[in-house]
């Protein structure tokens, strides 16, 4: 019995050491700049999109981002999800012309419809690179889901520009950014204070602009989010109730087993 027990103890100690080593090594890997956590209307199980912020964010996308970044998975009709009316969406779409084939078979242009995808600023990736000094601006349709840190990361990049620390060698045409991996980003600082004029009187500070456009982009990446969470709450409550009932039935069924 004795050797068995001591072996067991040794095994337990070995297991504990192994576990401790695993856990200790974990934080060593967490690196890169700390992300800001500005707090979002859409976080948490009951979070919803702040419609006004998302609409201001759309304005930023339209006036600033859309010069280089596409939003090709989204449709103009999706804008109804941030509170635009059908007429407003039609007007937004109609202000853009998209390529089509005319009745004569030749390439032509027509005003966009709500059913159209957002028009991309460049015809293709090569055209984008040619126009932008070799850099390819990523599509923003799911950018919030495509980056570690999500909204916090995008917000962090937009507000993370500054002077490089002394001694840091910057690449040609590169800009310093606290949050961007490697701290060198090809995109020049896109947002400045007072970059846009808000019609609702909100003061367009840099933080405000970044906050608004990230709210908009989070909506574009997760247009289903609000209904997803609403359904989710109902499903969880239903399952909790069902678990309770089933457990009571189980106790009753098993009550005669000894």
């Amino acid at each position: 019995m004795r050797p068995a027990l001591s072996t067991a103890r040794a095994g337990g100690q070995f297991a504990a050491t192994l576990l401790a080593a695993t856990l200790l090594a974990a934080p060593a890997i967490a690196q890169e700049g700390q992300l800001p956590h500005p707090g979002w209307s859409f976080s948490g199980p009951f979070g919803t999109f702040d419609r006004a912020a998302a609409q201001r964010g759309f304005q930023i996308y339209k006036e600033v981002c859309s010069n280089c970044h596409s939003l090709k998975e989204a449709y103009y009709r999706n804008l109804e999800g941030i509170g635009l009316s059908e007429e407003q969406v039609k007007a937004v779409a109609a202000s853009v012309t998209v390529p089509t084939i005319g009745d004569d078979g030749q390439p032509a242009e027509r005003p966009a419809l709500p059913s159209d995808h957002f028009k991309s600023p460049f015809a293709n990736d090569k055209a984008a690179r040619a126009a932008l000094n070799g850099a390819l601006p990523p599509d923003l349709s799911v950018i919030v889901k495509a980056r570690e840190g999500g909204p916090d990361y995008v917000y962090g990049v937009l507000t993370g520009y500054g002077e490089p620390p002394a001694g840091m060698k910057m690449g040609d045409g590169m800009n310093y950014n606290r949050v961007f991996p490697g701290h060198q980003i090809a995109m020049p600082q896109p947002l400045q204070a007072d970059q846009v004029q808000y019609s609702d009187g909100t003061k367009p500070t840099l933080d405000q602009e970044a906050h608004d456009v990230v709210t908009f982009l989070t909506f574009i990446a997760n247009p289903e989010m609000e209904s997803r969470k609403q359904i989710g709450v109902k499903i969880i409550l239903f399952l909790a109730m069902l678990t309770g009932i089933t457990y009571v039935v189980k106790r009753r069924v098993w009550s005669d087993v000894h």
Binding site: A15, L24, D139, L239, Y247
Partner: protein, 425 residues
């Protein structure tokens, strides 16, 4: 023997069918009155949970396939269309993607339950081996499914994993080209992966069927690991275990739903929301969490072929586990040394999972090698030896009298003998 089955069902329609095809009699025998050990704990829920998960994965998958396009130019966009335009498309996709993780959680718990309680030992060796086949099929299915959204991780995961086969001498490169249908992962690869991803789950159903048939031949193991001795030891499967499984199922669905509705991308990698780019590898290629331990074993071996062999070996060793473990006692409850080693093994597997998630640098390399060594040591060396050396605790007389007979005799129970090797039913 030819001849009509004599059915006792009163309902004439049921009786008519049952006489010709005794489905009702069979279901009644295998799922209603089937004698099941009365002492299962909730770890015995997980087989049923895995079956339900498989069926739900097939259901959601079939409907996803109605809207998915397996073309390298359209796959990513078609998934986004499912998420944005198809009615409840986001629900189907998130349920399916998180379902893969749920499936592995459930199956891993099911496997470790089998390891702890010795469910692989005679006479259940074949049952266990069929289980290992199920695991392998699941892994192949999950891997190919992960490729379908055609994001960066899909593409580079597919590239790295298929390249494993290039480690084999002489034929390696030919195999890889054959797998790809080209000279890199591309359109033909995506098409064939989609085809196989749709096919394999139905093969899985077939193997699961045999797994259940084998289970119903030998009967279930139980937490005591001793054989059923009398009807006193068992309960009919229905209603006792149908209701107990239902409780577990409800809790399981809650966990699944919590991820689907509130953290749908928790298990996912952000890089997979970037469309596949054959010219740029993501800074870190990490497989889905359920493959991390194998990935860690692969990287812990400095030699390419050696790593591949060890990785596959880590699963293949399970096939011979029933013959490596030499102890006649099944349940770890009565095996103090094995019980300790079992937990070391669990920790080693978890450690390998962490190692697989990180770059092979510094401590991680050391940890990975220690854990890999232990993994194989556990199965290949320790289990055969301790089976011989370990002195098991005395086994209870029967399931219905789970009392350990007092030492030195004199108790009311006859035969308080310690561990009879592998008692016959």
């Amino acid at each position: 023997m030819a001849g009509l089955h004599k059915s006792d069902y009163k309902n004439p329609v049921v009786n008519w069918i049952d006489t010709r095809l005794p489905l009702f009699t069979m279901m009644n025998k295998e799922y209603a009155v089937f004698p099941t050990p009365k002492n299962f704990n909730y770890f015995w829920n997980f087989g049923a949970l895995a079956t339900v998960t498989l069926l739900l994965m097939i259901a959601t998958g079939v409907f996803l396939a109605m809207n998915y396009t397996p073309d390298s130019n359209m796959a990513f966009d078609s998934v986004e269309r499912i998420m944005r335009d198809v009615n409840y498309g986001w629900l189907l996709r998130y349920a399916h993607a998180n379902g893969a993780s749920m499936f592995f959680i459930v199956v891993y718990i099911h496997i470790f339950r089998g390891l702890y309680y010795g469910s692989y030992k005679t006479p259940r060796e074949l049952l266990w081996m069929l289980g290992v086949v199920i695991l392998l099929l699941m892994m192949a299915t999950a891997f190919m499914g992960y490729v379908l959204p055609w994001g960066q991780m899909s593409f580079w995961g597919a590239t790295v994993i298929t390249n494993l086969f290039s480690a084999f001498p002489l034929v390696g490169n030919a195999i890889v080209t054959w797998l790809w249908g080209g000279f890199a992962v591309g359109d033909p690869t995506l098409h064939r992966f989609f085809s196989l991803h749709y096919l394999l789950p139905f093969v899985l159903i077939g193997v699961v069927f045999f797994h259940v048939v084998a289970l119903h031949i030998t009967g279930s193991n139980n937490p005591l690991g001793i054989d059923v001795k009398s009807p006193q030891d068992t309960l009919p499967f229905h209603p006792y275990y149908t209701i107990k499984d239902s409780v577990g199922l409800c809790v399981f669905f809650m966990v699944w739903a919590a991820f689907v509705f509130f953290a749908p991308n928790f298990f996912g990698d952000p890089d997979n929301y970037i469309p596949a780019n054959p010219l740029q590898t993501p800074s870190e290629i990490v497989p889905e969490w359920y493959f991390l331990p194998y990935y860690a074993i692969l990287r812990s071996v400095p030699n390419k072929l050696g790593g591949v062999c060890m990785m596959f070996g880590s699963i293949l060793v399970l096939f011979v586990l029933p013959w490596l473990d030499t102890s006649p006692v099944r349940s770890a409850r009565f095996r103090p040394i094995y019980r300790a080693l079992f937990w070391v093994h669990v920790v080693a597997c978890i450690a390998l999972g962490f190692v697989g998630a990180h770059r092979p640098e510094g401590w991680w390399v050391v940890l990975g090698r220690v854990a890999t060594t232990y993994y194989f040591l556990h199965f290949l060396v320790l289990l055969p030896i301790i089976g011989k050396l370990e002195r098991p605790l005395p086994l209870p007389e029967s399931i219905s009298r789970p009392v350990i007979p007092p030492r030195g005799g004199g108790g009311p129970l006859p035969g308080g003998a310690p561990a009879k090797p592998m008692e016959k039913p």
